[in-house]
Symmetry: C2
Subunit: 163 residues, 2 copies
């Protein structure tokens, strides 16, 4: 029970990717909420037809999840008064693909696992409390947990059609 005020806030990112190299994509990401822009890129290695000029998309995804949970850990450490030292997070992501003949492959996740070391003098109970809050605050983890059907529109002859 609390009589404290509940606030909500929105976080919006809009990226625009364009194909540049054989498999390279240059992506301008606009953090709409803060009006900041970041220039990012992905590529694939020669095995997948690319030139290896940038990390593959899944490397960015791995760093994104790792960095996102670490941001929450560090922000909430102060709020919950659970001291931490040098935080280390190992993030393992495993997918499996399936391909029939030469048809396009289909994919799905096998499992994602985070091994976390707070380097903390706090009690086990306090460390678990910090981790629990961090999971619930991590934008990527809560999205994965909830699941999400991405919406798609396709531009055909100048019109946008739901796809």
């Amino acid at each position: 029970m609390t009589d404290q005020e509940t606030k909500t806030f929105d976080i919006v990112f809009e990226g625009v990717g364009t194909s540049t190299g054989k498999m390279r994509n240059d992506i301008k990401v606009h953090f709409v909420t803060m009006d900041e822009t970041f220039d990012l890129a992905t590529d694939e290695g020669p095995f997948h037809g690319g030139d290896g000029t940038a990390p593959p998309p899944l490397a960015l995804f791995n760093a994104a999840l790792t960095g996102c949970i670490m941001t929450q850990i560090r922000a909430f450490s102060k709020r919950l008064k659970v001291p931490i030292g040098k935080v280390t997070v190992k993030c393992r992501m495993h997918w499996r693909g399936e391909q029939v003949g030469r048809e396009p492959y289909t994919t799905g996740p096998v499992g994602f696992d985070l091994d976390i070391d707070f380097d903390s003098p706090a009690s086990t109970e306090d460390q678990l409390r910090l981790l629990e809050a961090s999971k619930k605050g991590c934008f990527i983890e809560t999205t994965l947990m909830q699941g999400l059907e991405v919406g798609h529109r396709l531009q055909i002859d100048g019109d946008w059609i739901d796809a």
Copy 2:
């Protein structure tokens, strides 16, 4: 019905993130399957207590999803013989956070939307077929679609405990 052989393949990424700056994390991502390593970093802007030395985690996430669907589009264009020109993908991600007083905030997705332009002379039917295959091949989109509970372990006094 097909008598073509079905193959499966595994894709594994392992990142290790360490806290470096105030909110900066340096993350070494190992693409285990191909034995390639990528040095990435995230930071936060001053508003969230960081120094803005690298993109925030959600900017990497946005570029990852955008780049991943674009990789599939370009790979499958050839296999499905659906010609494409300069591909452009706009990826909008919207989350909402909620905070009671000064407690740690909780977060959840509102919606993710992809607007895709293949710049293609192909029929609408063929373009839709290419998009459908790309959705099913995109590692990130199929993970979001399925939903996933991330596993966690916490290091306490040298032991790993499930958390």
